[in-house]
Each structure stands twice: as C-alpha cells, then as structure tokens.
C-alpha cells in the first residue's frame, strides 16, 4: 500500500517517537527521585538541628548553673579569709574580682548559646529580653512587636537564633540607631521583619561570599523552617530583612 520510501520514513518517525518517549520517561523518573532526595535531606537537617539545639540547651543550663555556682562558692569561701597584711588583702581582692568577671562571662556565654527563658517562657519573652539587653548596652532603639502566638518550640528556637544573629550583626556593623522588629502571623504564615536604618551593605558582594558562619546558619535554619528570605539593602540606605515561613 505504501511505497518503500514512505514506509522507511514512517519507521524512522516511529523510531524517533519511541526514543522521545524513553527520554521523557527518563527525565520524569530522575526528577521524581531528586525531589525525594531533597525532602529526605531536609528531614535529616531538621533532625540534626534538633539534636544540636537540645545539646546547646543542656550545655548552657549546666554551664551557667553548675559552673557558676562553683565559682560563686569559691568567692563565698574566700570571703571568710581574714588577710593578715595589705599584700594578702590585695591578692584576695584581685581573686574575688576575677571570680566576679568569670561568672559574668559565663553568664554571657550561656545566654548566647541558648537562653533558658526561651524554653521556659517562649519566643516573645526571650526576644524581649534579648532586645532589652541590646537597648541597654547600645544607643539603638528597637520597636518590637510580636503578634504570632502559638509558634511551636522547635520553630521558636530557629527564629530566636536567626534574630539573635541578625541583631548581633546590626549592633556590630550597621551603626544603626533605630531597628524595627516585627513578628506577625498572617494567613498560615509567620513573617519576621527586621529593618534597620544603618549603613547597609553591598548585597551582591555579601551573597557571593556569604561564607560567614552566621549567615550560613541563618540560611540553614531558614531551610529547615521551609522559609523564604527577602533581603533588601543598599550602602548608606539601611537594611530590610524579611523571612516568611509556613505556620505549621
């Protein structure tokens, strides 16, 4: 019925269609597995963080309470010593001062690692304390608003550490005088905004070489939160940072 040539053409076209089908199948299959792998990796990341944060909570509490008590105990015992001369008195005083400083340093380390209040009272109280600490020791004013009740403890830890890192950066680098810090729950999402009126930075340079541990932590925690980060900054114009994540 068909001429020889036509048959060959049809056969060729048929063959190409078959090849196309195979390639499409290959692509679909590999994309499917890739997605699964990404989800699997995310789960693993979450589990790793969970473990890490728990460890930190434990260490911070132990560190401060345990070690701090021991150092203070030394101080108490030292206070019972009755120095017989000026020199002894000076040495004693020096020791007590050093102990005082040690306790303070300890407190700062433990607090930075994981504040106890986060676990006890929740995100709002923890952030309030963090901000109070910041406004007390610097000339920066912070407008803080919290409208997101019901965030799970695990998410709270991540948000807290992200905020801690960002505020730390603001204090250290931005020379800002005013910070607006909002956490709001809108329509199944939680939106965290931190805006400062500081000197800003070069966004491209920053994103390219953001190998700084702090920013990397923020990114990884944001990944675990399945959050999207928006960053707008210009040298001299301040910085706008927003992170938006699903509520559940």
């Amino acid at each position: 019925m068909y001429s020889e040539e036509n048959k060959i053409y049809i056969a060729l076209v048929g063959g190409l269609i078959v090849l196309l089908v195979l390639i499409i199948f290959f692509v679909i299959s590999i994309v499917k597995y890739h997605r699964r792998k990404v989800a699997f990796n995310l789960e693993k990341l979450e589990a790793d963080f969970d473990h890490l944060d728990h460890e930190r909570e434990r260490i911070a509490a132990d560190l401060h309470d345990d070690l701090g008590s021991f150092l203070s105990a030394i101080s108490l015992h030292l206070q019972r010593v009755e120095p017989r001369n000026e020199k002894s008195k000076d040495i004693l005083k020096f020791c007590e001062e050093q102990l005082d400083q040690s306790v303070n340093k300890l407190r700062r380390i433990a607090f930075n690692m994981m504040p106890g209040v986060l676990h006890r009272k929740g995100l709002d109280d923890a952030l309030t304390e963090l901000i109070n600490l910041m406004t007390d020791s610097t000339a920066i004013r912070v407008n803080y608003q919290y409208n997101a009740d019901g965030i799970s403890h695990v998410k709270a830890i991540h948000i807290y550490h992200i905020a801690q890192e960002l505020l730390h950066n603001i204090v250290k680098h931005s020379k800002a005088t005013l910070v607006t810090f909002n956490i709001t729950a809108i329509k199944n999402h939680v939106v965290v905004q931190i805006i400062d009126n500081g000197i800003g930075f070069d966004k491209n340079l920053f994103l390219k070489k953001s190998t700084g541990l702090g920013m990397r932590n923020i990114k990884t925690r944001a990944e675990v939160l399945k959050a999207k980060i928006s960053l707008a900054t210009l040298t001299g114009k301040g910085t706008y940072f927003q992170i938006k994540m699903p509520f559940k």
Partner: protein
Amino acid sequence: MIARPNHRLTVNSMNNYWLRIVFNYSIIIAAIIAIFRFKTIMADYYPFIFFIWLGLFNEILSLLLIYNYQSNTVNSNIYVLMEYLVLLWQFYKWSDGSSKRYYWLAAFGITVWITDNFILNTISDNNSIFRVFYSFIIIFFSIDKVNNLLIFEYGNLLKHPMFITCITFIFYYGFKAFVESFNMVHLGLNPVILKDLWIILYFVNGTANLLYAIAVLCIPKKIKFISPW
C-alpha cells in the same frame, strides 16, 4: 535472552551456529557462579538467579528440540513469557512499593502474549509483538531503577549488581526491541542486513551474559542477625 534468528535454525546453517552456541551458552558462566553463591546471597536477588538458570535451561532445551524436531520456536515463545514474569518479580523485589502495579502488568502481559501467540498468530510462529512489548517494559523498569540508584545510592555504583544488570537490560532489551521490530514491520530491506542485525544481537547477548556473571559475583551476602547477647 535467547536470540531467535529470523530464519529457521537448521543443522545446515553451520556458519552462525557455532557463534550462537558460544554467545548464548556464555550464560553458563553466570549459572555456575550462581550455584556456588546461592546459599550466601540475599534473597532479594533470587528472581535474577532463577532468570539465569531459566535461560540456561531453555538453551539446552532448544538444542535438544532442534536436533529432534528442527524447531525451537514453541519453547522460545513460552520461554519469553516466563522470562517476562520472572523479571517482573525481580523488579518487584527490588522496589519497596506495592505489588498492585506488578500484578496488573503481569496480567496485561499475559493478555498480550495470548493475543500474539494464539489470536493473531500461532504458537509455532516467530512472534514479535509480545517480545517488543516486554522489552519495553523491562527497559522502563531498568531506567527507573538506574535513576533511583543514581540519586540515592552511596558507594561504588559500578560494583552494584542492580546497576550492572539494569544497564545491561537497557542495552540488551533496547537492541532486541529494535531488531524484533523489523520482524513485525516488513520494510522490504535486504535480508542480509537483517541477518547481520541478528548476529550483532548474538554479540550483545554474549556480552550481556558475561555482565550478568559479574553481577552475580557482586551480589551482597545475606546479613546475619547478630544476637545481642
């Protein structure tokens, strides 16, 4: 796994006869290795081992039938159905999904086989429809498995038996489907070219058999359960 030449294989066509013997019986290497390793390897791979032994059995059977009855088409047709079902079973064992889709494919395959061998032709004909069909099925499963291994497996892929066998399947069944399709569609090509294609298929078959042997060597051992006390 056995390549069937387009023309009847007679005692007279000695030229490619010895070729065929050598390449097809290379499966015996894999079969012997399998006998030695059978007890120690994981049960997930048993269908593949049966696949190899089935192939060897069919080769021997073909030889006997050719000497006595001049033809091996009937047993070949039955053999390909069994090959299909055994490989389907193996892919099921290699997956962690439900068995539903495998049952459906088995049923559909049997339907195609019956159609090919009883309705459209007879069982003593060289029937290619089913062969093309099941070749594609095997290819699809193999591609999927290879992708799975690419993304999820750690360690040396080249020594992974699933990877070796599935890549081999893709090449062998790919070429087989290509060659068999010329049997389905008559394009009026020079018969010499077709005969050459079949000879190439013998080569491919021989290589595949060797690769199967390597795969059997690479199958991991059973995990012994260690008692906690």
